[in-house]
Subunit: 345 residues, 2 copies
């Protein structure tokens, strides 16, 4: 973990310039006394947290049983998304710890509350796991996985693949978004011998990539790409940034979205598949989740749908993130894993 954490920091990019190191904590020195766990993934943390924080009370309340009383009782919360009613009543929670990386649902609630709090999140080994997802599907497609699965339906013995083998390492990869997730993708691909170009806002260079360019100058790179991976956070600036305009640069590439669903205009993806700009789409995130069973993506032969599972966090990731943050809070220092609720990441 220590090793992963430090290499992640190397590539935090934008976040590095907002490093919290040494910043004073808005809630002062803080020691969790009453810890509220609200999700199935967090529930089994009750016992190890109790052992680590011997003087605290630890309570698990399932999401669908949460009451205002729970939020009045607790000073510390560990969960996924805050209920939208959280600040409709009095809330005693000072420290909100997200079991996931993304906080785009909870952050607006906190930002609008005017309350005094710290919001932290969990990163853990998530960027590497997202890279693993990208490599898994890249190898699967390049090694003919989809083709052979289709041929299983009819028992067709099609060996053309053998005579037309294309080395997965010969892919021309463009990653849009060079934050921690984009870096995780680049790092896993690079370890397999696949270099990636990065596109980001400013064109600043990020170590994990062979080179980085500003997104608005990305067209020449997108035209050559055989694999385009979007690893963007959701902000007002990235909403539907993967548009028909952007996708029209592609020439039969595979597109994967492992960032946030609403960054992609899904109608544009449909159009790009049908017009040949895209050969395949591997979509882990969607503008509406769960994706309704009637959505076109489920049944489209060139689309792989997964249910937002590319970047799992494990209980030990969450536990370690929580205890790391707790150490900073005990010293009255803003944790490195603190996020700015107003900025949303």
């Amino acid at each position: 973990m220590g090793h992963n954490r430090s290499t992640q920091r190397v590539c935090l990019g934008v976040k590095m310039s907002f490093s919290n190191s040494g910043a004073p904590c808005p809630i002062g020195r803080f020691f969790p006394q009453r810890i509220l766990l609200t999700t199935p993934l967090a529930a089994p943390l009750a016992e190890p947290l109790q052992k680590e924080f011997v003087r605290a009370q630890v309570r698990h309340v399932p999401n669908d049983e949460l009451s205002r009383e729970d939020f009045r009782w607790a000073d510390t919360w560990v969960g996924f998304d805050l209920p939208s009613w959280t600040f409709a009543g009095e809330v005693s929670v000072k420290w909100f710890h997200s079991q996931s990386d993304g906080v785009d649902k909870s952050a607006p609630i906190l930002a609008a509350s005017g309350a005094n709090y710290v919001l932290t999140h969990s990163v853990g080994d998530m960027p590497r796991r997202i890279g693993e997802y990208v490599l898994a599907y890249h190898l699967w497609l390049t090694r003919g996985g989809d083709l052979f699965r289709a041929n299983e339906q009819t028992g067709a013995w099609d060996t053309d693949f053998f005579n037309n083998y294309v080395d997965p390492r010969a892919a021309t990869v463009v990653v849009i978004g060079t934050g921690e997730v984009g870096c995780g993708v680049a790092r896993v691909l690079s370890a397999y011998g696949i270099e990636a170009v990065g596109l980001n806002t400013s064109g600043r260079q990020v170590e994990e990539f062979s080179a980085c360019y500003p997104l608005h100058e990305g067209a020449p790179h997108l035209r050559k790409a055989t694999l385009v991976v979007s690893a963007l956070p959701l902000t007002p600036a990235t909403d539907k940034i993967i548009s028909r305009d952007l996708l029209s640069n592609l020439n039969g590439a595979v597109f994967m979205n492992v960032g946030r669903g609403p960054t992609v205009d899904s109608d544009a993806v449909h159009w790009a598949l049908d017009s040949g700009h895209l050969a395949k789409a591997v979509l882990d995130v969607h503008e509406v989740e769960p994706l309704p069973p009637s959505d076109w993506r489920w049944g489209h032969p060139q689309v792989v749908v997964t249910p937002h599972v590319s970047g799992p966090l494990t209980r030990s990731d969450i536990f370690e993130a929580f205890t790391e943050c707790a150490r900073s809070l005990a010293e009255g220092v803003l944790p490195d894993l603190a996020v700015d609720a107003k900025r949303g990441y």
Copy 2:
């Protein structure tokens, strides 16, 4: 290529002890004069071979148009399997070069002929590509690929995977057969952070594996394995060696066969799947190829069938193997890529 070739040699294992280095060539100093290419994959080599061997005649005759006359004309053959009638008439060919690694169809014809010849084969980057196939399917299965494909049929949003993520690097892998293919598998897995135990005849240690044991003492390792990969050549000793007896040691493992089809008792695989000893089977090779459309494997929900494509060789692999062999033959030295037709590998 040079780098790959040398690392492959490190792990040739059994073959190394039969190294041909310096052995005299049974056909003396030999220079190809009339080169016969007989397969679609070899056909495009006509031009580069003509450039390399300027004094030779190069002829491509499709497999289904081959005649005795062609074999009387040629002194050098490049193809896949020799036609069974090859030696029914007079044959002038002295050098038989296989475009593939396996020679188990051609070798018996040559061994029975009593002729004076050299048989060589192509290895190239094939062992690494077989390792890539194993990694591709291992990641696919571990990352829920099969599950999510199934859920696409109904639009089911099943995120249990997220909360139960198992690191693909935590697999306990046993590779049966530690020759060049087994080493290729171990090398690719190891680069991804997955150690493998090897099982071979004698239990001799092979560098690519964390440890090797004799196959007859393999049971304790098979019992713990989550992934068992068979990478065995076909010999009388390995025929149906992957038996019900062997598979009964497994406890819900994934089994992959990237060796030779007849080394596996396919009825035993069926039994092991149905009785829970196997969770999945990924089968690239089969005792009958093409696998008939009616075969149970095509339709079995726990089986992935691919049509003998795990270890592609490219034209440049074949070209380089051929020219490397030609250099040795020109010096009257048995090429390192020569195989013993009587032994069959």
